[in-house]
Every structure is written in C-alpha cells, then in structure tokens.
Amino acid sequence: MIGRVAGWALPLGVFAAVAWAVLALPSPAPSLTDEALAAIDESGVSNPVTAVLLNYRSTDTLLELGVLLLAVVSVWGLRRADHAAAGPESSPLLEGLIRGLVPLLLVTGGYLLWIGAFAPGGAFQGGALVGGAIVLLALGGLTGRWFADRQRLLRVGLSVGLAVFSAVGWVVTAWGSWFLEYPEGMAKTLILVIETAALVSIGLTLGCLFVGGGPPDDLETGDAP
C-alpha cells in the first residue's frame, strides 16, 4: 500500500513541479519572431519555420541529418532485418492498399517538400510520408529483396542528404561566404537542392529504421545472428 502511494507521489510531484515551472514562465515570452520575420526576404523562403531550419540555424539541421545516418548505422550494426518473418504476404487487401497508397504518398511527399518554402511542410514532413510508403512496402514483404539487391544504391540514398548538405556548405565558401551562408539570390535554389537530397535520405532512413536491421549479405543463405 505504501509502495502504491509512493509510486503515484512521484508522477504527481513531477507534474506539479513541471506545471508550476511552465505556468510561471513570463508572458509574453521573449520571442525571436520579429528577428525571424525581419530577415525573411533574404532567407530565400517565406515560411519562417523553413527559414529557421534551413537558413538561420542550418547547422542544427545538418547535424540532425548526421543523427539520422548514425541511427541507421547503429541499428544495422546491432541486428539484421528479419526478412524471413516478413516474407511476401500475399493478402489482396494489403496489395491493394500498397498499390493505391504508395504512389499517393510519394507524390504528396514531393508536394510537401515544394510547399515547405511558403507554407507548413518541408523535407522532414515529406520524408515522413516517403518513410510511410517504405513501411507499407516492408509490410508487404517487398523491401527485403529490393534492399538486398541494391545495397550500394541504398547506402548512397541514406547518406545523400548529409553529403549534399555538407557539400553545399563548403561550396558556398568559394563565394567568400561562411560555411552554410548562402550567397545572395541563391538561397532559394540551394535550399531546394538540400531539401530534395534530405527528403530522399530521411524517407529511406525512416523506412530502414522500421525494417529494423541491415540487409542480409545473401538472402538465400543469410542466417541472422
């Protein structure tokens, strides 16, 4: 009984402390809205969240793509995907769902990438939809063979976001800018290039994380550890 009471005292105490802390914050909050909107014309995009992610604080996003890659490398190092368990399940319902949804998800992902410049959207939202498409394919048992046959392409796709982002960061230094400081007038193009590469990497990374392991070296004789 005492254990039960003590068990609930902890979350209640945490709730009280956190609630007090967040309600005691000064209002109106010190905000960077004005700064973010003041430079929006130079940022190359008109959606302030995209401007923060890919211009003002682009180093954060660059390192975030590094985190994505690290996560895939870690998961691949830890285990192999259970392709045997997720064999081709020929259920007409799943097949129909895949046929209908996967193209729609890919097109919507591209659309979200494009509208990210001026409305809520962007590489991460689009990448989440592409990841969802890969999850559907994996549930249908369709990714195992594909991933195993195209390992090099898969690896390039997983790292292209980080590679293109870093390359753009270094290339702009040739115009006398700092690392990742886009030259005037080129911001929109460069952001689109980075986001397109990032979309591919994010989508593939999320899909690979769902599959949950590296592709087997050989599907026929590949014995999972």
């Binding site: 609630a19 905000s31 969240v49 870690s74 998961v75």
Partner: protein, 101 residues
C-alpha cells in the same frame, strides 16, 4: 492565442511528461520504458509549441524548428533503443528476466 488555451496546452504537456516519467520509473520491461520515454518527449514538444504560440502575432518559428528537429532525433533514438532492447532480450539480460518472472 489566448492565455487560457495556451495554459491548457502547457498543463497537458506537463501531464504527459509526468505520465511518461512514471512509466520510466515504474515499468521494468524495456519496450514499455521506451514508449514511456516517447510519451515524455511528446509532453516536451507540446510545451514548446504552446510556448511558441503565446502572445500576439504569429507563433515563434524557432521552437517549432526545435520541435521538428526533436521529433526526428526522438525517432532515431527510439529505433536504436528498440534494436538494443531486442539484442538484450535475445541475450537474456537481467532486467528482462525480471519482467518474465
């Protein structure tokens, strides 16, 4: 956004954080703990987005960008944690032996 709506979101965020914290400390099984950490994270994201919406005018984009980054990092951390949990289950760690009993 009006102050009372923001306060409601802040309180719900705090409640999610506390529920997640309870799960982290009360649960033994690795999968439940991983889910609990994700619930905690959702609470933090909700608080950050609510903080961004306070005051007049458009919401502050910086916390929104931080939440977007945070969600992706949380997904990655969850995936690695699940792979580790699976590995420890296969090798029969002490924590999961307890859960099986």
């Amino acid at each position: 956004m009006t102050g009372s709506t923001v306060d409601l979101f802040l309180l719900v965020g705090a409640a999610l954080f506390a529920l997640g914290a309870a799960g982290v400390f009360r649960e033994v099984e690795a999968l439940r703990r991983i889910i609990a950490v994700n619930v905690m994270g959702s609470g933090v994201f909700l608080v950050l987005v609510a903080i961004a919406a306070r005051g007049e005018g458009p919401p502050d984009p910086v916390p929104h960008a931080m939440v977007l980054t945070g969600i992706v990092v949380a997904v990655c951390a969850t995936a690695v944690a699940l792979a580790l949990a699976d590995l420890s289950r296969r090798h029969g760690s002490s924590a999961d032996d307890k859960a099986d009993r």
